[in-house]
Amino acid sequence: MAAMFTVEHLKKSFETENGTIDVIDDLSLSLEEGRFLCIVGPSGCGKTTLLRILCGLDPPTSGTILINGSPPDPRKQKFGVIFQEESLLPWRNVFNNVKFGQEINKIGASDEIAKKYINLVGLEGFENYFPHQISGGMKKRVAIARALAVDPDIIMMDEPFADLDAQTRWILQKELLSIWSQLKKTAIFITHNVEEAVFLGQYVAVLSKRPAKLKTLINIDLPYPRSRLAAPFISYREKIIDLLREEIPSIS
């Protein structure tokens, strides 16, 4: 069962000791069921904040978010979320970290499914390792396995592949696409890698610099599997890079 997102006039600001900081400003967006949306935008623009609001962790300052007509609530909709920061439970080994989502979900933790996703992300043999005993990229892969192992209706990922080498990244991109296309989940995927966005997304949302607005929503009208070297692919990529360049102040 997939889901339909509608975000309307979303605003988010934080109160700090240094005053109010506006992070998202009047962002509207809608996404049909089973679609794959990639989000790109400058560092610090508000992507992670947006994701946290979309999965119901933070309330918006104003505006509405509806998933299939009701506000986001992970107790009702099955999310598979991957956080940008380290998010493994340090007291559980790799295997039990992957099983964690299942346990919470009460879908009956299945050792086989956990095993399957551990293999998928290339971590067979490391099941009994604790998080502090594996590399940065391996930790990210455990988080990916954990999110997928709950068979989520909605996949939300915040730069899941940033710590991975290109080769591993490509493999996992393909796996993700195949899982998504087989099961028709709705996917929201934040990335800094424009090539990745064009490779994966049906839509790419380009956000402005903070406070984040929707600068442009691009429909990537290419069939899967896509070739990174094809001319239309490259032209989409260049277009998005140009859009981003407008947003990023020449720091220094």
Binding site: P74, F83, G101, I104, V150
Partner: protein, 264 residues
Amino acid sequence: MSTVRSYLRSAKSIVIGLASIATFLILWEAVTRVVNSPFLPGPYSVFLAFIQISTVGDIDGYSLGWHSAVSLYRVLLGFLAGAVTGIPLGLFMGIKLTVKDVATPIIEPIRFIPPIAWIPLSIVLLSGLTRFTFLIWVGVFFPVLLNTIAGVRRTSITLVNVARTFGADNNAVLRHIIFPSALPEIMTGLRVGLGIGWMCIVAAEMIGGDPVGLGRLILKYANFLQIDVVIVGMVTIGLIGLAMNYAILLLEKRMFRWRVEVTT
């Protein structure tokens, strides 16, 4: 860590431990000689008193073993009561501001009140074993409570968020994230609480009854001004406490294998 290395390490720490105890005993003997007070017996006369009380028993005929067993039982009951009340309340006070607001103004003043001051009220309101349990509880509860709250505060918000996005309700967050994450502090609270619980044994055993228990032994012989037996009581409490503490530490070691610890 390789088994050989950890074996060597524990052998080394045992040797160091024995050496420190020896140094301590020598220092004690030296101080005794210098001070030369009837109320500061040296290690040897304490040792003799120890033999006497363990084999022959005290003036009422109770042996050291029996004193220890009775006190141990009382302390364990109070300790359990402290753990069973302190940990859940600490968890709830840590996560629910309302619970904290309600509980704080009642609990906070109480925690400073000396156990001895509770004796009159405990006699009026409680009876039998519950009094001992209560007076030990007074010592155990607050360290466990405060440390549990501190542990809850240490919880990584990211991990809570992870659980939430998987659909965890408050209960599941508590069980799967907050509790395991606060566990190191909770264990520290339990160890501190165990110590304070034992510290309260004399206060608890000031209440009349059979003249048995290590606290009673101490009080009794303090009355006779036989400080060597008082020290036997102190040392016995110390050793039992040490053993219980060691048991908790072993448990901790098993539980916290996942932690990387800082040493320099």
